[in-house]
Structure formats: C-alpha cells, structure tokens
Amino acid sequence: MNSIGEECTNLKRNYEDCFNKWFSEKFLKGNNEDDCAPLFKVYQTCVKKAIKEKNLDLDCMEKDVLGTEFEKPPPPVSK
C-alpha cells in the first residue's frame, strides 16, 4: 500500500518487511526486542515531512484516545 508521501513508499516497504517478520516470529512469541528501529526512524522522518506538507491537523492526529478518558463508551444495549 502506498504511503501518503510518494517518496516514502520504498522506505515504508523496507520497514514493513522487517516489522511483519518481527511481529510474527518474535513479538507474538513474547520477544519484544525491536529489530526494526533504524528502518522505522528513516521511514518516520519521511512520513512526518510529507504529512506537514499536506497541512493535516497534526494535533488531532497525535492525540491519544484509545484507553483514555476521551474514548467513547460502548453504545447502550437496545432492549
């Protein structure tokens, strides 16, 4: 899948190849050691720049909601 920044797509694919391997072979088996940090850093630098250039609402994007008080409660169960 393409990145929001065309120039970041290859960096994204390199990172994803590493992540998918780490996730299935290590993380799911209880090993948290991060193998992909350098690839992630390079990819993130590119993506953050691309997002800024698109003038997206960064504050809204960066806000954490899941697991916080801002998370919506489950809808009421209809009787």
Partner: protein
C-alpha cells in the same frame, strides 16, 4: 443525538493469524477506496504493541450534499490499536480527522478468540455517528450509517482475502498430496484387477 451501529464478524483463522494479517490487509480487491496507509507512531509498553496509523480514503458525498458542502475529495482517518499477545486481544479505534463537524464516525473493534472455538476469531464492532451540521444532521448521520455498513462488508471481505493469501498456502500442497494418493490408489486397483482378471472372466455372473 448520536446514531450507533454494532455488529459481530467471525474469521475462520486463529487470533495470531488475524493479528499478523491486520498489518498486511491493504491493498486488497475490496479496498479501492483506501488511497494510502502509514504508521505514524509505534512502541511496545509492558509487552503490548501500541500503534497509530494514518489512512487516507476517498470521500464520496451524498449527491444532495454536494450543492451545500464543498468537502475535500479525500478524508484522513486515524487508527489507534493495542495488541496484547499474552491475553490474545487486539483492539482498534478509528476516527476521521478533518470534517468532524460535518460527520464524525468513530469505530472500535475488539478481536478476540471465539469462546466457542478457540481456533477462530471473533470481531465485535461498535460505531458512533454524529453530525453537528445545522439542518442536515439526521440526513448526514443516516448517510454515514449506510455508507459505513457497506464499508464494513468490504472490510471483512478484504480482510478474509488477505488471510487466505497469507495462510492458505498449505491448500495447494494438500491438494497435490491428495491427488498423488488418489493416483497411487487407482494404480493399485488397476494392478489388482489385471492380476485377478482370469478369475473375474470365469466368474462372469458378477454385476
């Protein structure tokens, strides 16, 4: 007033397989409306993986709305997720950014092992729809619910396509093995027939 929608889907794959496929489900034949996908934050805290993804999607407006609202052709969606491999739980929380006053859609999905069959995975989904656009609130919310239901169907089909591609690679080998066994059995029967033919010929009353 807020509209809600809830649904449950069952994936005939283990929780681990569903968790692996979550990161690889785009693109798929049912995701033409998803234009880009990026991880914007990721870290492991106390053995759980916290991720934030940014997706851009096409933004079809209802025809009647196009006259009144000039919305962007694309919308941005943020998906937060927590993967807990120890408890086999995976939660995603998705919301649109930009255009929230027009229509806010929030979706939460819990992927857990199906309690009735631990080799399959249940996805419990909740969605909230809210618009504060004066004069069109109910129509926009109704439009949002209908479009969302259609997207949920595509989402599940697309996810299943990814799961098949990742985990059904055993099937062709199984089919080949079965074919080989069938051929061997047939050969054995033919061989047996050829050896017993004189007896069969003499016993010509066999049906």
């Amino acid at each position: 007033m807020v509209k809600y929608y809830t649904s449950t889907a069952l994936f005939k794959y283990t929780w681990d397989q569903v968790a692996i496929a979550l990161w690889q489900r785009y693109p798929n034949p049912y995701s033409k409306h998803v234009l880009s996908e990026d991880v914007v934050h990721r870290e492991v805290i106390n053995g759980k993986l916290y991720t934030k993804r940014l997706l851009t999607k096409t933004n079809p407006m209802p025809r009647w709305g196009e006259h009144f609202v000039r919305g962007p052709r694309h919308i941005c969606v943020v998906e937060e997720s927590i993967v807990d491999p120890k408890n086999k739980s995976l939660t995603t929380y998705t919301r649109n950014i930009g255009m929230q006053k027009l229509l806010t859609i929030i979706e939460k999905c819990d992927y857990i092992q199906n309690p009735e069959n631990l080799r399959t995975t249940q996805c419990n989904r909740w969605a909230w729809f809210q618009s504060s656009f004066y004069g069109f609130r109910r129509a926009l919310q109704a439009f949002g619910v209908e479009r969302y239901k259609s997207n949920v169907t595509k989402n599940v089909k697309g996810f299943n396509t990814t799961l098949e591609q990742l985990f059904m690679t055993d099937i062709p080998q199984q089919t080949k093995t079965k074919q080989k066994l069938t051929e061997k059995a047939k050969h054995a029967v033919d061989l047996a027939k050829s050896k017993t033919q004189p007896l069969l010929t003499s016993s010509s009353q066999l049906p």
